[in-house]
């Protein structure tokens, strides 16, 4: 072993263990001691030799192996970055070449769906609904002959992953329409959608922030906003029991807080008494303090917002244990069959707002169509929840807007926006009431009530419109 040693600095004796690195002459090496146990990096640690290869050999090796170092063990950020970036860049170039070549006469629709993560149960359904609606349209001839291509990526219901997926789809596929996974993503992307991408956008979110034709002309909500839903529920309460005591139970998220200011105002307008506002985390296990507050204030109605199942089930159970006779209500995501399945007999009297019909409403033509298509394409599926219907309805609207824009010869963002504003009494085959656009949303829904014996939801009211 070559051990040429000529060093001006004094060499301390090697010390093993005790969390120290085996000391080497260079100070930088000492600075890199590290918190963990001083594991020696092999024979090299004892080597005090730095032999330099000739520059030509270095150049050759460099181009071959990309990892040559002709000099001392010191840290040159630049050198590392060169190698790292070159390798990574070439890898990315190669990978981006993969994939099929784009076909002509194909309309692309991209989607970022929460397939994994906190809202996966809804995301998988919404994705299935949107895809089924688009593929059904393809089977029926597409958009005046043009086929739709559906591109989906997983956003995991996390903002950074979803944003990256959004940008990836936009850059790679340049779709005409995008579908997003959360209120957060919609708000994060709205400046770019308006100024740069200019594509039609809708999402799983019913947030009122996104439905504003002046601020976000390209974004629409495929139904009523959460504020509209609260309005419908409060109107229903005011009809049933004027002057009733109401409480809101919402989550500490954008999703939960979105309709609350509007709802507070509505309570005043409808002369309902807002006695309590309880806040909890999504999926909270311990809601005792909130339940105790509700017990103290004893409202007649409690409206949930921002949760799906947990902790709604826990709150209802604990309130019933306390003997409270409160009636519980929820907005769209609470109108799911999961509530009935999870709560069992406790779900008696639970009501929710939902603008779409359910899987068991066989008398609705569109539901029949969905069932036939499901039996054909997904034979193992026995039930599709309201989240599926949301995706499906969005798909129907997309198809209708594409057809109108294509007929007008303007198959681009502006054309789609014009088509959106022209939607009046759009017939979704009975899936919902006729949709008329108002401020980039469709404010119509009905109140549903649980039927615990049959384990289904039944209509408790007719279609209530807030768009007149």
């Amino acid at each position: 072993m070559l051990t040429y040693e000529k060093c001006v600095l004094p060499l301390p004796p090697p010390v093993k263990g005790g969390g120290f690195q085996i000391p080497l002459p260079s100070r930088e090496r000492v600075a890199r001691g590290g918190i963990s146990d001083g594991k020696s990096s092999g024979k090299l640690a004892h080597m005090h030799v730095r032999v330099n290869l000739s520059d030509s050999l270095v150049g050759l090796l460099g181009s071959l192996a990309k990892s040559v170092s002709p000099h001392a063990i010191s840290k040159e950020a630049g050198l590392m970055r060169a190698r790292g970036f070159l390798a990574v860049f070439s890898l990315m170039l190669v990978l981006s070449m993969l994939g099929p070549a784009p076909a002509q006469d194909v309309i692309k629709i991209g989607a970022v769906q929460p397939i994994t993560g906190r809202f996966a149960f809804a995301g998988v359904n919404i994705n299935a609904g949107l895809e089924d609606a688009l593929m059904m349209a393809n089977e029926e001839g597409g958009i005046n002959g043009k086929q739709i291509k559906y591109i989906m990526e997983d956003g995991q219901y996390q903002l950074d992953v979803a944003t990256a997926a959004f940008k990836r789809i936009m850059t790679r596929d340049n779709p005409l329409i995008m579908y997003g996974e959360s209120t957060g993503l919609g708000k994060a992307m709205s400046p770019e959608i308006k100024d740069r991408y200019k594509i039609l956008y809708s999402s799983t979110s019913f947030s009122g922030e996104l439905a504003d034709v002046a601020v976000n002309p390209y974004i629409f909500v495929p139904g009523p906003t959460y504020a509209d839903m609260f309005g419908i529920l409060l109107k229903y309460i005011a009809n049933e029991k004027p002057g009733a005591k109401v409480a809101f139970f919402y989550s500490d998220t954008e999703f939960g807080k979105d309709p609350i200011p509007f709802a507070r105002q509505m309570c005043k307008d409808l002369k309902l008494e807002l006695v309590a506002e309880a806040v909890a985390q999504v999926g909270a296990i311990d809601v005792t303090s909130q339940v105790l507050e509700l017990k103290r204030k004893s409202p007649d109605y409690v409206i949930f917002q921002g949760f799906v199942v947990e902790p709604v089930a826990a709150v209802i159970k604990q309130c019933r244990d306390f003997g409270m006779k409160t009636k519980f209500m929820g907005t769209f995501w609470g109108a799911t069959k999961m509530i009935i399945d999870n709560l069992g007999p406790l779900a008696e009297g639970y009501m929710a707002v939902n603008p779409y019909m359910y899987w068991w409403n066989d008398d609705v033509p569109m539901i029949k169509k969905i069932k036939t298509y499901s039996a054909k394409k997904h034979p193992s599926v026995t039930y599709r929840d309201n989240s599926y219907m949301q995706g499906f309805m969005t798909g129907l609207i997309f198809v209708e807007l594409l057809k109108r824009a294509d007929k007008a010869g303007q198959l681009n963002g502006e054309g789609l926006v014009k088509a959106l504003q022209s939607l009046k009494d759009f017939d979704s085959g009975g899936l919902s009431a006729p949709f008329t656009v108002k401020n980039n949303k469709f404010p119509v829904a009905r109140v549903w009530k649980t039927n615990v014996q049959k384990k289904i939801w039944e209509p408790a009211s007719d279609w209530m419109r807030l768009d007149k």
């Binding site: 000529k6 001006v8 600095l9 969390g19 002459p25 100070r27 600075a31 890199r32 001691g33 590290g34 918190i35 963990s36 594991k39 990096s41 090299l44 080597m47 030799v49 730095r50 032999v51 330099n52 290869l53 090796l61 990892s67 040559v68 170092s69 002709p70 000099h71 063990i73 010191s74 840290k75 040159e76 950020a77 050198l79 970055r81 060169a82 790292g84 970036f85 070159l86 990574v88 990315m92 990978l95 981006s96 993969l98 994939g99 994994t116 989906m152 997983d154 903002l159 950074d160 990256a164 997926a165 940008k167 936009m170 850059t171 957060g184 708000k187 400046p191 740069r196 954008e254 807080k257």
Partner: protein, 347 residues
């Protein structure tokens, strides 16, 4: 052919770029980085920008955790403080981006100094929990101090402008990120070879001995917190101007863990480690996404299976790296370099 490493002064030993060869390659790298926007598409530039922000934040965290030994679980909150400070300065006070960015760093540094005060009394895991508390407290402030941060609605931030030119595309912002990152990394690299850097290392390795030889522990620990938070604030200000929106959702606890993972996988106690770790943690998930995207074409309908596999693979990569090289990617890099230093004579 140079034979032997002959240094005749400490100055020579401390040089960062020690030979002409290295300087040439560094120049090649800088040229490549400058030319990169011409070669890359918008998505790659987006990822490049994110890597830049991650490098700045990771370097800051490594200065605190790797060099000074103060484990901090609140780094994402400081990034958030910087982001919100920049957003408020730009939108509410009309400050130009070039002024708001350093000010945001200073605001974040001030908060960091305040959070660093417990470090006088607590060490190790206990300091960990104290910084974790700061993460949650600051997150709560972001959501509930609505008069300043506008709560969950967030703040829309206009992109930076210089004269008539607006930096609103990924390509144009890339240059801002590049320049700021080079400045930050250069400063940090130089910081660690000064008296301050050596004091940090002394505090990490044996703080009792350091105190005995006259290093004021509290002062250097506070400075470490301050500098680290300054870097976090700069990264936050840049990020917010790039995304053009800031909401509390951007700075969760998982981001703090991600920064910590970056420096652990990259290599604690080295600036190069932070760079490698930031690149690795940002790039590998994106590469895995591209991979799952391409495998989708070969195995249609298997997406439900492949998408979670991504997380599994990523976790295995992290664990694998740490098993085979606990000192991180930087150490792997050094070992490769050392191997070739003696090639073909090594055995």
């Amino acid at each position: 052919m140079r034979c032997g490493d002959l240094k005749e002064s400490y100055l020579e030993d401390e040089k960062i770029f020690q030979s002409l060869f290295v300087k040439i390659w560094l120049a090649v790298l800088l040229v490549f980085l400058a030319v990169f926007p011409l070669l890359a598409d918008a998505y790659m530039l987006y990822v490049a920008n994110l890597i830049g922000f991650a490098i700045i934040a990771a370097v800051g965290l490594n200065l605190l955790t790797g060099f000074t030994g103060q484990i901090s679980l609140g780094h994402a909150a400081f990034v958030g403080v910087g982001g919100y400070a920049a957003a408020v300065l730009i939108t509410r006070f009309g400050a130009p981006f070039w002024l708001a960015l350093p000010l945001a760093g200073l605001v974040s540094a001030l908060i960091g100094l305040v959070i660093g005060i417990p470090s006088l009394r607590v060490k190790g895991l206990y300091l960990c929990i104290a910084t974790l508390a700061s993460q949650f407290i600051l997150e709560y402030v972001f959501v509930h101090w609505e008069s300043v941060t506008r709560g969950i609605r967030g703040i829309n931030v206009p992109p930076p402008r210089f004269g008539g030119f607006v930096f609103d595309t990924e390509a144009s912002f890339y240059y801002i990120t590049l320049v700021v990152m080079l400045m930050c990394v250069g400063f940090a690299r130089n910081l660690v070879r000064t008296k301050w850097g050596r004091a940090f290392v002394a505090v990490r390795d044996r703080d009792l001995a350091a105190e005995i030889i006259g290093i004021n522990l509290f002062r250097y620990k506070l400075v470490a917190f301050g500098v680290s938070s300054f870097y976090a604030g700069i990264a936050g200000g840049l990020w917010v101007s790039f995304m053009k929106v800031v909401t509390p959702e951007h700075f969760p606890f998982s981001l703090s863990i991600q920064y910590l993972a970056m420096i652990i996988v990259g290599g604690l106690g080295t600036i190069l480690g932070s760079i490698f770790g930031a690149i690795f943690m940002t790039l590998v998930p994106e590469l895995l996404n591209v991979l799952t995207g391409t495998t989708k074409h070969f195995f249609p309908g298997m997406e439900q299976l492949f998408i979670p596999m991504k997380d599994v693979i990523f976790g295995m990569l992290i664990v694998g790296f740490l098993v085979f090289e606990p000192h991180g990617l930087a150490e792997i890099w050094h070992r490769i370099k050392n191997f070739f230093t003696l090639w073909p004579f090594s055995y």
